[in-house]
């Protein structure tokens, strides 16, 4: 019980740190890193929940989620390079053309 509580606190700490990073940072690279941190928070929560109920499903899904996070990082990095080629900057605010 105590293990689960501490694990969930750790997971939500990671998630909130990642979220704040997404909201605050302007650099696209650090945005990607913050997203990774958020993902990791979710994965940690999955792993703790799986071990708490003695089910392997949670840990399997956490491995799956890690793969997804990696794929996501790959896609993110590809987009990052495209944006860097096009704009010569990694500032996310230079992309705020959505106003319409």
């Amino acid at each position: 019980m105590t293990l689960l509580m501490q694990g969930l606190v750790l997971a939500s700490c990671l998630f909130v740190i990642g979220l704040l990073g997404v909201m605050v940072r302007r650099n696209l690279f650090f945005l990607l890193l913050s997203l990774m941190v958020m993902n990791n928070g979710a994965i940690v929560a999955l792993a703790f929940a799986g071990s708490y109920w003695h089910l392997f499903d949670g840990q399997l899904i956490s491995i799956l989620a890690m793969c997804v996070a990696l794929a996501q990082a790959g896609v993110g990095l590809a987009l990052l390079t495209r944006i860097f080629y096009r704009r010569k900057t990694l500032n996310i605010d230079s992309l705020s053309d959505m106003k319409g």
């Binding site: 909201m23 996310i92 705020s96 959505m98 106003k99 319409g100």
Partner: protein, 615 residues
């Protein structure tokens, strides 16, 4: 008689034909259509007359009734379109078709430009179709339909020369005046329906006779409203403006409107509902007052006008009022006889003066006319007949007996004021028609060349002139059982006829002194301030037009100006202002910054989570 509906359908169809294809066909074809219509109508009328004379039943007032179709049918409220013909309608149909025939042939020689001819034929066809609808309808709502048709076609006829701005204004004025008075008629009809529950004229008169008390409030108000509606068409004093504006139309149209159609619709309504009008003595007295006002008004103005057309118009207006004087004495048969005399005289007067104007090459100011006596004896004879009829010349003129009976009836009933004004009206109209004749025929000629006129026209006019003589006195009219006949008290009528004769002769004498041999004393009288004031007042037509402008038109324009900013619409603009304000705040949130969107999403989801957890 089963073809009676054609008498309305033919002119209506001809109107549509001429309006739609009139401008694409040649002049000759337009004339053929117009004249063909009127000949068809005349033939139908002749057949109807023959039928009527062979099929009369002595004791039935309803002679012919034909149901065509139901116009409105809602529960118990059924308005059929049906034709009903009796002696009164037949008299009116004969009058209208007779004059239409004469005027259509006259217009063909009088009007010049092809466009004028076909528009005249088209609009006159509409006018005649709506008149015949009024006369043949057996239902007040159908009468109203024809009534509006008359308003519309009068507007169109006055505006034939619509390219001159003055004429367009006059046409609009006519339309507004007529529709203003139509309102009273509509109110009257609704009041009748509310009270009696039927709109069929025959049932309505019967129920009114049985159910309503004489001189009750409801009778007074309904008859007053119907009378106000009728004088809108008949052109009595406050509503005479359209009658004067008709002078701007071409002469055949003037004759059609002033003598034989529009005026007749007003009189017809009063005669048709005479049983109802008899039940309200107050309205009859009001009628006498309005008629005598109109007599004074019209005859004094005709005395000082210089335009021939306007003199003629005001003379006719004065004659119309005698019709209502005779209605006011409840002597309906007499008013019908006088109506026939009036239509003959006024048509003759208008046609003769149109020939007079044409001879003088369009000059209408009588100060510049003169010396026609040597030029045209035929026209002179026509004008003598007119003068005889208008001034009620003793013994030989039709109107001497009729007008004598009207005024004698007024005096017999104790209405001395209207009676005296009737006599005064005869004196003044004698003066003004004598003035017209003396000035245009006997004064020195100021125009060198006169246009030649075809003598066949005089034959036509002299045929009309025969009807104004006493030959046709007491011609039997088929009105038994339709309008009530009252006997006139003949006791002491002979001295009165002497009085009337002396009034007429006095008028001619004064006119002779004034206009043929004016000497210095006459000039002195004419130059006194009070006479000058009166002359100026009458020359300005009693400033009625000015009064209308000051009271109605200016008040209307002022209130329209006030309402232009739409004071009730302020609330709308406040609402719009509030929405704009809120909008400007919300729009600022949409700034295109992805991160601020993320922040708002996060804040939103946190609030949602909080709500889920704590509530």
């Amino acid at each position: 008689m089963n073809l009676l509906y054609l008498i309305i359908a033919v002119p209506l169809f001809s109107f549509l034909l001429l309006t739609f294809i009139g401008r694409h066909i040649r002049l000759g074809h337009g004339i053929v259509i117009g004249i063909g219509t009127v000949i068809a109508m005349a033939l139908i009328t002749v057949f109807v007359c023959i039928d009527y004379n062979t099929n009369t039943f002595p004791d039935t007032s309803l002679d012919y009734y034909r149901f065509l179709w139901n116009w409105i049918s809602v529960g118990n409220f059924v308005i059929p379109i049906a034709l009903s013909l009796d002696g009164l309608s037949l008299t009116f149909i004969i009058l209208i078709v007779f004059f239409a025939t004469i005027l259509y042939f006259f217009a063909q020689t009088y009007l010049i430009s092809p466009q004028d001819i076909y528009t005249f034929y088209a609009y006159s066809n509409l006018l005649i179709a709506s008149m015949l609808t009024i006369i043949l309808a057996d239902n007040l709502l159908v009468v109203l339909l024809g009534w509006e048709g008359v308003s519309l076609s009068t507007y169109l006829l006055v505006g034939i020369y619509y390219k001159r701005l003055r004429n367009s204004y006059a046409a609009v004025k006519t339309f507004i005046m007529m529709h203003f008075t139509d309102l009273f008629l509509i109110i009257g009809i609704f009041m009748l329906y509310n009270e009696l529950g039927t709109l069929n004229i025959r049932d309505l008169l019967a129920t009114a006779h049985d159910n309503l008390a004489i001189d009750s409030d409801i009778v007074f108000w309904t008859t007053l409203m119907l009378f106000l509606g009728a004088i809108g068409k008949a052109g009595l004093f406050p509503m005479h403006m359209w009658f004067v504006e008709t002078t701007l139309a071409p002469m055949p149209a003037v004759a059609l409107m002033q003598s034989s159609t529009v005026i007749l619709s007003g009189i017809y309504l009063v005669l048709r509902l005479s049983n109802l009008f008899m039940m309200s003595t107050d309205v009859l007295f009001f009628m006498a007052v309005m008629a005598s006002l109109t007599i004074i008004f019209a005859s004094t103005i005709s005395l000082v006008q210089h335009d021939v057309k306007r003199i003629v118009t005001y003379l006719n207006l004065g004659q119309v009022s005698y019709l209502f004087l005779s209605c006011a004495t409840q002597n309906w048969e007499l008013s019908l006889s006088f109506l026939i005399n009036y239509t003959m005289t006024s048509a003759l007067l208008i046609l003769s003066s149109s020939i007079l104007i044409k001879m003088n090459n369009g000059e209408r100011d009588i100060r510049r006319l003169g010396g026609l006596f040597k030029e045209s004896k035929g026209l002179y004879i026509c004008f003598l007949f007119i003068g005889m009829s208008i001034s009620a010349l003793p013994l030989i003129s039709f109107s001497f007996y009729i007008k004598g009976d009207i005024i004698w009836g007024l005096i017999n009933q104790g209405k001395l004021g209207p009676g005296a004004i009737g006599l005064l009206g005869i004196l003044i109209s004698t003066l003004s028609i004598s003035r017209l004749i003396f000035v245009t025929f006997h004064n020195k000629s100021k125009i060198k060349s006169f246009a030649k006129i075809n003598p066949i026209k005089y034959a036509l006019l002299l045929m009309l002139a025969l009807f104004t003589t006493a030959l046709f006195l007491y011609f039997p009219l088929p009105i038994e059982g339709i309008i009530p006949i009252t006997d006139l008290n003949t006791n002491g009528q002979l001295p009165f006829q002497f009085l009337l004769a002396s009034v007429t002769l006095l008028g001619i004498l004064i006119a002779y002194i004034f206009y043929v041999h004016p000497n210095n004393e006459i000039q002195d009288i004419a130059n006194t301030p009070i006479v000058k004031f009166f002359i100026r007042l009458c020359a300005n037509e009693w400033k009625i037009e000015y009064l209308w402008k000051k009271t109605f038109v200016q008040i209307y324009l002022y209130s329209a100006n006030l309402l232009k900013k739409d004071p009730l619409g302020v609330w709308d603009s406040w609402i719009i202002w509030g929405i704009r304000k809120i909008n400007s705040y919300i729009v600022r949130l949409e700034n295109g910054q992805l991160r601020s969107y993320t922040v708002s999403i996060v804040i939103g989801s946190i609030i949602m989570l909080m709500l889920l957890i704590f509530i």
